[in-house]
Each structure stands twice: as C-alpha cells, then as structure tokens.
C-alpha cells in the first residue's frame, strides 16, 4: 500500500515536470519568416551595414517576435552605429531573456563604460540590494519556473506528510524551507515585474531632467546616456523619472525608452 502511494506521488511529479517545460515551450512560437529576416540582418551586419542590420532586427521586433539573441544583435548594431544609449537599451532587453549570457554581460559593461552610464542601484539596504541584484540576474520566466518547481515540491512534501507517517518527521524541515524560498521567489517575481514595467534607459545624449514637465522649466540634473532610470509617472510628452540616487525630475519622452515594450 505504501509503495502504491509513493508511486502515485512520483507519477504526479513526473507529470508536472513534463508539463511545466511543455508549457514553457508553448510560449515560443514558430516564426520561419522572422528567422529568414534574422539571417539577412546578420548578413548586413557582417557586411558592415549596421544601419540596415538594425532596421531589419527592429522589423522582427515590430512583428511582435522577440528573444534574447535578437535584442543582443540589435544592441550590437546600434553600438557599431555609435548609438550607445540604444545599444544599452537593447542589451537590457536581451537580459530579460538570457541574463546569464557572458557575451551580453561583456558588451553591456563595455557600452556602459564608454558613456559613464549609471548602473542600476536597487536599494540602500545592503541585504535588499543583494536580493534585488540576484533577482535581476534571473529572467521573469526563470523565476516563474523556479516557483513552479517549489510549488510541486511543497505539495509533494505535504502529501508525504499526510500519507506517510513514516517519513513525516523528515519532511517538516524541507517543507518549511520550501515555503520560505517560495515566498521569497514570489516577492522577487512581483518586484521584477514591477521593476521591468517601470525601468527605462536614457537614449539621448546629455538629457536634462527638469523640475516641471515644460520646455521652459529649470533644468534640475543631467542624465548620462545609457543610464537606467525608473519611470514613476507620465504625461502626453513627459516622463516623471527617478534616478538611482532618488532624484526625481521630468524628462522629454524622446530622451528615454522603456525597457519593457
């Protein structure tokens, strides 16, 4: 009887472990035309026609098809065109899909160093800063999958706790740990979604943040190209932004671009 129950739990786990990747895979979509465009854009890049390459990558994104490689190559094209702000923006976008890509990290660091762009500062609290920094290195889907696995683990452990008094005493510790980690992951996912929704990159050179959303308003501070900022409000022509040092000002919408399209 005991072995029958264990077999039932294992089958549930296997089911979920199969279904979860299947569900993830279901996110990707077949895009044969876009793959052709991608190859053509790469050819332009190889020929040194960076403007044409960037336009073609933008066309793929404009069709609603995106991934990390596309944004990475788009960032490279803008970099070669000398538009460092746009390059950094697209590297940031690529980071949502492949945060652990070493080439991406290398290029982003180099681009930032060229324009003295301000790297994101998450919090003044050291512990929170580490937590957010870790969360920023994970993709949204990555955190979601991690939470899904924890979700399964929690219920498997609960089931073990209920159906098998023999291993009940061993499950309490792991169950508690899983619940804590799951809560932290849920918090980080919430923060990440919120952060991505409000994150933006300065694409204009020497953009000025003003005290008011008006062309005649007094300039408050400068925003270096490629710096990551947070959008907290918007009007028809202006974004109210917050810099990493918590200074708040109004910037013309053409000077910055949201990371999440």
């Amino acid at each position: 009887m005991f072995f029958k129950r264990i077999a039932a739990f294992i089958s549930v786990i296997v089911f979920l472990c199969v279904v979860t990747p299947a569900a993830m895979f279901a996110q990707s979509v077949p895009a044969a035309d876009e793959e052709k465009l991608f190859a053509q854009a790469n050819d332009f890049y190889r020929a040194g026609k960076y403007k044409e390459a960037a336009d073609m990558y933008e066309q793929i994104a404009g069709n609603g098809f995106v991934n990390g490689n596309l944004y990475y190559n788009l960032g490279n094209s803008y970099f070669k065109e000398g538009e460092i702000g746009k390059a950094i923006l697209n590297y940031e976008r690529a980071g949502q899909f492949m945060p652990y890509d070493s080439d991406l990290k290398e290029n982003l660091d180099y681009a930032r160093s060229l324009v003295n762009a301000i790297s994101p500062q998450y919090s003044n609290n050291r512990l929170l800063r580490r937590f957010y920094s870790l969360a920023d290195r994970l993709s949204v889907d990555g955190i979601t999958v991690f939470m899904s696995i924890l979700f399964v683990c929690i219920f498997v452990l609960l089931a073990c706790n209920i159906f098998s008094p023999v291993i009940r005493k061993y499950t309490v510790f792991f169950l508690t740990a899983c619940v804590i980690v799951f809560s932290a992951a849920a918090f980080s996912l919430s923060w990440k979604i919120n952060y991505l929704a409000r994150g933006a990159v300065v694409i204009a050179k020497d953009a000025q943040a003003r005290f008011e959303p008006s062309d005649n308003a007094t300039a408050y501070f400068m925003l270096s190209q490629g710096s990551r900022i947070e959008v907290i409000d918007a009007t028809a022509r202006w974004f109210k932004i917050k810099r990493s040092d918590h200074k708040v000002g109004w910037v013309d919408k053409t000077a910055i671009e949201l990371i999440r399209e």
Binding site: Q27, F65, L70, F79, A111, D141, S148, V152, I162
Partner: protein, 608 residues
C-alpha cells in the same frame, strides 16, 4: 647684571656688523652717466654706485677744468631675493659743463675702511649746438618710439660658440632698458635649428652700466645643447613688450564749451599714456657643434656629456637567497642629464635583475635596480662603471665604483626559487599579456526560439490552470484520504454515514415484498430496517432496538413527539404482522411504507 648687558650688546653688534665686514671684499664700485653727449648749458648726472653695502660715504671728486661738480645726495636700495639680502648706495652728482669739448672723469680710486675701490674713466662730449633728439635728456614718457633703439635693445649671448654634440651650455638673452617704461614683457623666442633648448629659468633683474650709461637689465637664461654636428646660427632672438609713451598734447582752442570738452584735462587726469608695442630683435650667433672624438672612447660609453660624479650604494648587505637587494646609483654634476643612462654593471651572474627605476631630482639622476641573488655562494655585487665625455677637458672619463660585498645566506625553507622563468614543459599555459584592445563581442549567428512580445510564463493561462488543477487534485485526494481515515477510526461516524445507504437497500427490499403482497417478509424487512437504521444513526446495538428502547433513547435526544408516534405506530404494525400476518393487507403495507419514508426523511433532515 651689567656684564650680562655688555655681553648681549656685543653679541648683537657682532651679528649686525658681521655681514658688513664679510661683504666688504664683495663690494662693487661702478660709475655711470645718464648721457654721453649734451649741449652746452645742459646738466649731466653722474652716479657713483656701490653694490653690496650702504655704508659708504660720498667721494670727493677731483676737480675737472671747465666742469662744475655738485653733490646732490645719496640714493640707497635694499632687496631680498631668495632669502639673499642685497643692498647698494648710489651717490649722485650734478655736472654742469662750462665749455664745449670732450671731458674725462677718472679713473677713480677710493679708499674706505682699509679697502681700495677702483673704477674706470668715463667720457662725455659737450657740444655748442643742440644735440640730437636721441641723446637729449628727455623724460621717458615723451620719447618718440622711432628713436629708442639705443635705449631699449636685446642682446643674446651664449657661453661658448664651439660645442660638442649634446654639450650643455647656458644661453642668456638680456633686455636693456635705459629710463623707459617698458611693460608686458614676454619670454623671448629664437630659432634654434640643430639645438635643443631646456625651459627658461625665472628672469633676473639688475642694473648694468655700458659705456658709462646705466641700464636696467632683465636677463632670461636657458640651457641649450646641440643635437647634430655642423655649423649653425643661433637666433636672432625676438622679444615682445609694450613701451609706455605719453600721447602728444593737442593744441587747445580758446574759450567756450569746446575748450572745456577738448581740453586734455581728462587725459591728464587719467595719465594720457598709451602702449606702444615693441618687437625687439637681437643679433644671431654662429655656433659650431662638433662630434665627440672617437679616440679613447670607452666601450660602455652611452653618450653622457658633462662633468659628472657617481655614488653607488647597496642595501641590505646581509640577506637570504631569494631576497631582494637594491642597487642605488646616483649620478650628479653638471651636464646634459638627458644623455645619462643606467651605468654599466659587471656580469651579474647568479642574480635575477629587474628593470631599474629612474628618477631625476635637480642635478641628480638616480637609478634604483632590484637584484635578487639566486645562490648563497654569491659574495658581492659587481662593480659599476660610468663613462662620460667631459667637454671642458675634451676627453672621456670613467668612474668605477665597487664591487660591493654582500653576505647571502641559505633561505630558511629549502625550496626552489620560483622567480626564474618556468621551464616545465607540462605546466599549464599562462598568458601574461593583457588584451591589446577592447570591443564588443560578436553577434549571435543563430536566432533561437522566438516568443510573442509581452508574453511571459506567469501570464500563460495553461500554465496557471495546470497548477490550479494540481491543487484541486491534491485537495480531493487529501479529503478522500481524510474521510477514509475517519471512517476507519470513528465507528459512530461510519455507522451514521452508512445508515441511509442501508436504509435505502432495506426500503428497496420492502417495496419488492409489498409488490409481491408478502406481508410477513415485508414487515420483517421494515423491522430490520428500523433496527439497523436507528442503531447506526444513534450508535446503538441494532439487535437490541425495540419500542421501549426507542422511547427511552429517542425521547432523551429530544426527537419530535409526532415522529416518535409515527415510529411507535410502525413498530406496532410490525408486531401485529408478526403475530397475525393475515390481518394486514396491501393497503396497510403501502401506508407503512409511506410512513417509513417520512420517518427516514425526518431523521435524515434531523442532524441531532
């Protein structure tokens, strides 16, 4: 007390007088005239200057025929430059010629405090006619800019015009100014093809007498050296400055407002001067640059030219094999330090030598080299040779210092010294060179899987539903297991739970007996149904359920009296049927069945 005061006074006097006494030998005596040619009736100014003291009385000048001499008074000056105090006194005399001709004053000899001072003779000419404007006594502010070449001029000098290659020699450019106001003086420039020039030092300012005329001198000094052999011309030097001249006064118109506004009142008030730019030029100087001789050139000569000395030190002198020892070589002296390279060292076998650190401090050039003895058998640091060409002597010189004894001990731990290059062929490859440049990493060649923009897993409905389904399944299994466990562990609950099911089964049987018109079996089944149902419902032994038990137990549980009456009626019918089965017909069975359903319905609704 008095003796103390006397001693203190003597000390103070001694301190104060000491410089006067010591400088007595350095006093310079100069004689100068403000002009060398005047017209009869004009006065001339004679100045007798003593540089280095202010304690000098006026001289009694010898009488000169046709010349009236009158002492006007002294003029003293004291200056402190770079903590050096200099003082001077000038006795000024007025000379009035009484006739035309050439006059001569001096040579003058003057004795004071046992020292004798000499000055050469000075000459001047007195003419009957008015002298030219250039030599006429004028105020500097009234001078014509076209006629000043003898009152402000530039002179360039080089100490030697025959140099060796890379030989350093001082070059001076002097600006002479005689009673003119010169402003905005810039550093001089000059062509120096074939020469390299070091930076100009801070200009010096002093007075100089030339041909009996006093000049204020500003001297610019720099060091130059020839960079290739041949005949060259140094200069001419040029210097830009502004001459301050008074504007020509306009003729005033008499009367009225025009007179008022055209007057030079405002100009006079604000000075009425203007700057006149001057671009002075000196003569050029021919300079010959010779190659260094090949004869007796030392083998280790690396091009140093000058007069140098060398000091060498080694520290520490006691060390362990593998520890560093610093060899410090200091080259000092005069010459071209840019040609001084690291002096030659003897064969440094048994040493690991690092690149020397070089620094120049004024007239010293210091080389510090770290050496690491690799063996404890080493007893000395080899000698150091420094060869240079002395241009004053016209020959090469070699300075040798060392060797320097050192004591090298065994290292505390016997280990192979690892500072030598790694010769192990199997060692892992280490690249010590850094990147030569930096650029972005190349593009990704494969597109990878595409996603719809804005779609994430967390808002993927199938993904979320899957988790919800999992949760529901888990809850169902959990509840089922819980119920199952309760049924197993709680017999009251289990009996109560299965009571309706059993009742339905008995009821079905009773209906079948009713339809068959089998009175006995029908009422037996009804009786069993009531026993089982009530037993299970109220957790009582089923076999012991009778009318009296029903009255006793159900009354105590507060069951409705009407329901109890109905129950009593059914029990009575069952008893009657058991003893006289023929007394009850089908109608009675149907009635009993109806009442039974009602009573079951009642107990099902009643949760007590």
């Amino acid at each position: 007390m008095n003796s103390f005061r006397e001693i203190a006074f003597a000390l103070i006097c001694g301190v104060l007088l000491y410089p006067a006494v010591s400088f007595a030998k350095d006093i310079a005596f100069e004689v100068g005239l403000d002009r060398s040619k005047i017209s009869l009736g004009e006065r001339l100014q004679l100045e007798l200057g003593f540089e280095g003291t202010q304690d000098m009385p006026p001289l009694d000048l010898p009488e000169v025929e046709g010349l009236q001499i009158r002492y006007l008074g002294p003029s003293t000056r004291m200056s402190i430059v770079n903590s050096k105090v200099s003082s001077s006194i000038t006795h000024i005399y007025s000379l009035l010629p009484l006739k035309a001709g050439n006059f001569k004053i001096g040579p003058l000899t003057f004795e004071h405090n046992g020292d004798t001072y000499h000055a050469g003779e000075i000459n001047f000419e007195v003419v009957k006619d008015a002298v030219s404007a250039s030599s006429a006594p004028r105020d500097s502010s009234q001078v014509s800019p076209d006629d000043i070449s003898d009152r402000v001029f530039l002179v360039m000098n080089v100490k030697s015009n025959k140099l060796y290659l890379n030989e350093m020699t001082p070059l001076s450019i002097k600006l002479y100014v005689n009673r003119l106001a010169v402003r905005d003086i810039q550093y001089p420039e000059f062509s120096h093809e074939g020469f390299s020039i070091l930076q100009f030092e801070k200009p010096k300012q002093y007075a100089e007498v030339i041909g009996g005329v006093n000049y204020d001198v500003i001297e610019f000094t720099a060091f130059i050296f020839g960079t290739r052999q041949g005949e060259f011309r140094l200069g001419p030097a040029s210097l830009k400055c502004n001459l301050l001249v008074r504007q020509q006064q306009r003729q005033r118109l008499p009367g009225g407002f025009e007179d008022l506004f055209n007057s030079n009142m405002f100009e006079d008030f604000f000075g009425g001067y203007q700057n006149y730019p001057l671009d002075l030029k000196s003569a050029d100087i021919p300079v010959t640059v010779r190659a260094l001789p090949d004869e007796l050139k030392p083998q280790d000569f690396t091009g140093a030219v000058g007069d140098f000395n060398m000091e060498v030190s080694v520290s520490p002198q006691e060390l362990k094999a593998g520890d560093p020892v610093t060899l410090k070589i200091t080259v000092s002296g005069n010459g071209n330090f840019s040609t001084v390279n690291m002096p030659h060292r003897g064969a440094h076998q048994g040493f690991k030598a690092y690149e020397p650190q070089v620094k120049q401090e004024g007239a010293n050039k210091v080389f510090e080299q770290v050496l690491i003895p690799l063996e404890e058998s080493i007893g000395e640091v080899p000698a150091v040779d420094f060869s240079f060409f002395d241009p004053a002597a016209g020959k090469y010189r070699v300075i040798t210092k060392g060797p320097f004894p050192i004591r090298v001990e065994k290292p505390e731990r016997e280990e192979k010294i690892t500072i030598v290059s790694n010769q192990h062929p199997q060692s892992p490859l280490v690249f010590e060179d850094g990147p030569l440049g930096r650029d972005i990493v190349y593009i990704k060649t494969l597109p990878g899987a595409f996603f719809k923009k804005g779609r994430f897993l967390f808002n993927n409905s199938p993904f979320l539903l899957m988790h919800l389904a999992f949760l529901l399944v888990f809850l169902c299994v959990f509840l089922y297991e819980k119920r199952k466990r309760k049924l197993k562990d709680d017999p009251r609950f289990a009996r109560r739970l299965c009571a309706p099911k059993k009742a339905r089964e008995y009821l079905l049987k009773a209906r079948q007996y009713c339809s068959k018109n089998d009175t006995k079996m029908f009422y037996d089944t009804v009786f069993q149904l009531l026993q089982e149902y009530l037993g299970d419902k109220f957790h009582l032994p089923s076999q012991g359920i009778t009318m009296s038990v029903v009255d006793e137990v159900l009354k105590s549980k507060g069951v409705d009296e009407a329901a109890l009456d109905m129950l009593r009626g059914i029990f009575k019918e069952c008893d009657a049927a058991r003893y006289s089965p023929g007394a009850l017909g089908k109608d009675a069975m149907l009635d009993t069945l109806r009442k039974l359903e009602e009573i079951l319905m009642f107990f099902q609704k009643d949760k007590s």
